[in-house]
């Protein structure tokens, strides 16, 4: 899809190298030679001997190429997590980041409280198995909700078939987060707050129970049932 645009809006974008007035729509303000920034301090404190071949090449490349600016959602502190930032962006409505962030922090607090309650009630030998770190619970729950294989609609001879298709990492993460959020928004009592419901769902997903993991299993079963059409995929 091309859009007629004047040259002045281009700036550093790749189209400033092309003297045409029609531009592809998915472009970025950065020149394609700009690389992603690396924010974590640990990667800069590694001594030279520990690096593998690829990392050494990456380092050399980074020394020459320009780097994009770090986005305002991430920082080098221990509290910023890229997955949690993505989840907050997906929960956000109409650009209200303040509300989305506060909901997330309330959710994590609710998870911690529930786990601590369980911890204090549990007998001595079970105390070590109870996980109290809300970040660990969040990551594990997301991992348990990620589907391995997805379905895509392919039309052959007038009929549309659901064909099993491998998913990329990004797509898996997106689907897991999307299912969690839709589940929490729709299937709850009118008076329950989002943090409460989300913390409930996350704890269920952490233990491989709950409606989101069930949805993942249904998707896997459908993919297994439609195995016969797998050869329709051409990519």
């Amino acid at each position: 899809v091309c859009v007629p645009v004047t040259a002045r809006a281009l700036g550093d974008s790749p189209a400033s190298l092309v003297p045409c007035r029609l531009m592809p729509v998915r472009w970025s303000r950065y020149n394609p030679s700009y690389l992603e920034p690396e924010v974590k301090t640990e990667s800069y404190q590694k001594p030279l001997e520990e690096l593998t071949e690829e990392e050494k090449e990456q380092m050399e490349l980074k020394a020459v190429r320009p780097i994009k600016a770090a986005p305002p959602t991430i920082s080098s502190s221990v509290f910023s997590d890229p997955m949690i930032s993505k989840f907050i962006n997906m929960m956000m409505k109409s650009g209200n980041k303040v509300l989305a962030r506060s909901l997330m922090s309330q959710t994590l607090e609710a998870i911690k409280r529930k786990q601590l309650e369980k911890y204090h009630k549990a007998p001595e030998n079970e105390k070590e198995t109870i996980e109290c770190n809300p970040y660990v619970i969040f990551h594990q729950a997301l991992k348990n909700c990620q589907p391995i294989i997805g379905l895509s609609n392919i039309t052959r001879g007038g009929k549309t078939y659901q064909v099993p298709v491998p998913l990329t990492d990004n797509r898996k993460r997106f689907l897991a987060m999307k299912w969690l959020i839709t589940e929490c928004r729709e299937n709850k009592h009118r008076r329950t707050m989002m943090p409460e419901k989300l913390s409930q769902e996350l704890l269920l997903a952490f233990n491989n129970e709950g409606p989101v993991v069930k949805k993942k299993h249904i998707l896997h079963k459908m993919a297994e049932a439609n195995r016969a059409y797998a050869h329709f995929r051409w990519w």
Binding site: A9, V64, S76, S77
Partner: protein, 350 residues
């Protein structure tokens, strides 16, 4: 239509496969070159300079002095350049007197491009054969790594100028893919000369930024300033040494000025990255933009100010963490016929 100086007619014309009647004969261009050289010597004598060592820059300065022009368009002003720069390169006639074309790929329409692909593939097969020979003799394959970072491939426009015919985006990307494949093979050193024709050196030192030295105020405390921009916000930051970690924005403490946690995290980001949270004081002024833009502007300003306090290696780490780059993202303009920058009007069937 505009005729741009310094580009090839082949690029501007639509079907470049059939060159039209020659606009400038070779004899004409030779005469122009002789006239140019003579004129250069005359000009040098007029300006009182030595005709032997009169460079193109001297010519430009002399012309600007003798014919001052107030025109805004630089290409409309009086110009005296070597004829090869003024008259664009054009292809000679591709066929003989009997009408039979010289090149065997003439009827493909893009003869230079296809012959180039043919040659490159031949080199690839050569390298493969050499590799197979080495494997058959059980000799180790040379693995000298080419420095990927310091060279880049020719751009599409440069390729077009080299081939004197139009190259489409698809064709260009296929050619680059073939070159990449050739380069990644272990025995590619044999064809190094051929590859060098298509690669250019990238200047390694992109911008050697001068880091300002520390200044000292009346109490003897070291400080340094920095400026930052983000969207429409402009900020200046003064970072003092031997501090307690207090940060003041426009005379107000950050807890009151930035009630949102995300903005305060951004302000502390450069200090936390360098591990100097309680060691510096900061006083900043910021104007314009919104809440997040102001925070981003102050972050950039403080990172720039901190460069003076820190070793060069740490400055390089800050640059690789994205703290020292100006964020070029701004609000996209609204287009006519659409409601916003991307949103179209509601589609109505009738």
């Amino acid at each position: 239509t505009l005729r741009l100086v310094g580009t090839t007619t082949a690029v501007l014309r639509k079907n470049a496969g059939a060159p039209g009647p020659e606009k400038y004969t070779e004899a004409f261009i030779k005469k122009q070159i002789e006239e140019f050289n003579l004129g250069k010597r005359h000009l040098a004598n007029m300006m009182g300079e030595d005709p032997e060592t009169f460079t193109q820059e001297d010519i430009d300065r002399a012309i600007a002095y003798l014919f001052p022009s107030g025109l805004f368009d630089k290409q409309a002003r009086p110009l005296m350049k070597h004829p090869t720069e003024v008259f664009p390169e054009q292809r000679k006639i591709q066929w003989g007197e009997d009408g039979r074309p010289f090149h065997f790929l003439f009827y493909t329409g893009k003869q230079s491009y296809y012959s180039l692909m043919h040659e490159t593939y031949e080199k690839l097969l050569n390298v493969q054969k050499h590799q197979d020979q080495l494997i058959a003799q059980d000799l180790p394959l040379q693995k000298e790594k080419r420095n990927l970072a310091s060279s880049r491939w020719l751009t599409k426009i440069e390729l077009e100028e080299m081939l004197l015919e139009k190259v489409s985006d698809d064709d260009y990307s296929r050619f680059i893919q073939l070159l990449e494949k050739l380069v990644t093979m272990p025995c590619a050193d044999i064809e190094e000369k051929y590859i060098q024709k298509f690669s250019k050196e990238v200047p390694v030192q992109l911008q050697k930024v001068v880091i300002e030295p520390l200044q000292y105020d009346e109490r003897g405390v070291a400080f340094s300033t920095g400026e930052g921009k983000r969207k429409t916000a402009n900020a200046t930051a003064v970072v003092y040494d031997n501090g307690t970690g207090k940060i003041t924005v426009n005379g107000i403490d950050i807890l009151h000025y930035f009630p949102v946690l995300q903005d305060r995290e951004q302000l502390l980001f450069p200090f936390q990255f360098l591990g100097r949270i309680g060691k510096h004081d900061m006083v900043c002024t910021v104007s314009g933009g919104g809440r997040s833009a102001q925070a981003g502007a102050i972050r950039l300003a403080s990172a720039k100010a901190l460069r003076s306090f820190v070793t060069e290696k740490e400055v390089e780490f800050m640059r690789q963490a994205g703290l020292l780059t100006v964020d070029p993202r701004v609000k996209e303009r609204k287009k006519p016929g659409q409601e916003g920058p991307r949103r179209k009007f509601t589609w109505k069937k009738r």
